[in-house]
Symmetry: C2
Subunit: 343 residues, 2 copies
Amino acid sequence: MARIAVVAGDGIGPEVVGQARKVLDAVLPGIEATGYDLGAARWHRTGEVLPDSVLDELAGHDAILLGAVGDPTVPPGVLERGLLLKLRFAFDQYVNLRPSRLWPGVTGPLAAVKPGEVDLVVVREGTEGLYAGAGGSLHRGTPAEVATEESLNTRHGVERVIRDAFARAARRERRKVTLVHKTNVLTHAGSLWSRAFAEVAAEHPDVTTEYQHVDAAAMFLVTNPSRYDVVVTDNLFGDILTDIAAAVTGGIGLAASGCINPEGRYPSMFEPVHGSAPDIAGKGVADPVAAVLSAALLLDQLGHAEAAARVTAAVAAELAGRTPGAPLRTEEVGDRLAAHAVA
Amino acid sequence: MARIAVVAGDGIGPEVVGQARKVLDAVLPGIEATGYDLGAARWHRTGEVLPDSVLDELAGHDAILLGAVGDPTVPPGVLERGLLLKLRFAFDQYVNLRPSRLWPGVTGPLAAVKPGEVDLVVVREGTEGLYAGAGGSLHRGTPAEVATEESLNTRHGVERVIRDAFARAARRERRKVTLVHKTNVLTHAGSLWSRAFAEVAAEHPDVTTEYQHVDAAAMFLVTNPSRYDVVVTDNLFGDILTDIAAAVTGGIGLAASGCINPEGRYPSMFEPVHGSAPDIAGKGVADPVAAVLSAALLLDQLGHAEAAARVTAAVAAELAGRTPGAPLRTEEVGDRLAAHAVA
Ligand SMILES: CC(C)[C@H](C(=O)O)[C@@H](O)C(=O)O
Ligand SMILES: CC(C)[C@H](C(=O)O)[C@@H](O)C(=O)O
């Protein structure tokens, strides 16, 4: 039976993760879940972000389910570098998977796009690029200050995430992969990405391919998001594009994500894209849908595709039945989703 | 009298620049314009992109008006690095100015945003960051390949563009500047930008400030673009954000831009954001509005604020009078704009 680590985190994290666990328990009874206390609260209390001993313990699980970490009083970078990015890098989670669908029942901001028309997934590289932490500064605080940030890209890292994107595309209906980069300016990294992409594409004659510069892709995500199926891109571009994709499909309130080590050598981590939302924390009004969809990604990654599909169908039914603007209760949504997923 | 260099370029470049010149001649008779043959066509013919002798000649002008360069057969990077970026760097055009308005008469893609509600300007840094060309690769074409791209940021370069953004904000009605970066991941450059921003902000107590991560800003440009007034950001973030801003205000077909050396030590360059659109080139159906708006930015930069305002008003009238979807003739639009600007 699957052993998962649960990092409920701060703010609304515990509330939404509670519903995700409820749904998981419903579709996969007997799942073993261990809670870990990490995030802003722990950092305030103890000064610790992610002790090595906890990292070791997490490594012994099949997957990690995370709610949200952070609050406005933690300095920028502390939890990002110390916890979220640390886990991505330590557990070699090189596939950062971010599906976006404009669900029936959800009104997106784009006048011309109707629910059901957008169904794309961004496969964002998760362990390289500008996230490598290769940067520094000289003459800090003086008029002569120079600060650098280096994007590191390896054939190893680029090829494996492109392979993952093609494998996913081959299992989808439209079978199309769009590479997004900025080859006209970032010529060295762009060339590496383009060549690796072309070579992997040659092994997949059944998959359609295209290339777009990141600025053009950002624009087309707004003007014509339904043109995308699978998008593969580097770490920073993926960060930006997935927030645009979330925005055009109803907001990050519904967006799920997975930081995946596809080989399963290390645990993959699943989390809603939204933050800890301190303003509504503890009120029982946070929408748990993104956390529940993240649990569905977790199920899928652990080989429980059928259970994942039932959870996704429950979410689809929940969203289709909502009245726009009507208030919701976190617990009730969780109850409905759990009931629907096993019906 | 102003001496401008005109690089009409490829595709629809000559057509739209023709109208921009028509309008310039109308509002500022006696302007001295010299054409320069640069772009894909010249490169195909001679292999030259931007000979030093031409660069020297361009330096002798007050400003450059550019149409569009490129065609699909030129390898990526040749004209970008060799011409566009070369000019930005050689002429120290550190302010890349990109206004976005949802003009009355124009239907944007966002259901909730009405014409007139968006009026923002992105002040994008133009001479540093990932555009510095500091990158390389090792073991190219082997499984051991590594490719790097380095973002270089200096206090000098960051502070001067932030100063420009505040100066512009102080002249606008809402007087608000949003800094966009990714300080939680790009901690070295992020810290430099944040500190410089805070220091310049302290000199402008009348200007409201805020900070957003680039992923959040990309999202809010889609969900709530009217919240922005002046946005200041780095070179690559600005590239992406301005295309989103263009998309939400009716597409890059209407977007103008200026690459500005504010001190006027070198010529500034003004160009529509759209490309050479080879598919419609020569048909006389390209919309010259973005080129004409770029000419208005040129006038403003050269100190002809009143003439610039007349051109902008002509564009506003033109757009307000259009029937959505109705075909247009490039020449006729230029004639109407020129007539209106001097009426
Ligand atoms: C919190 C931050 C480090 C993170 C990122 O930039 O990857 C977030 O924006 C995300 O997209 O998961
Ligand atoms: C053509 C390219 C070099 C350029 C850029 O990236 O700056 C373009 O996208 C732009 O925004 O002007």
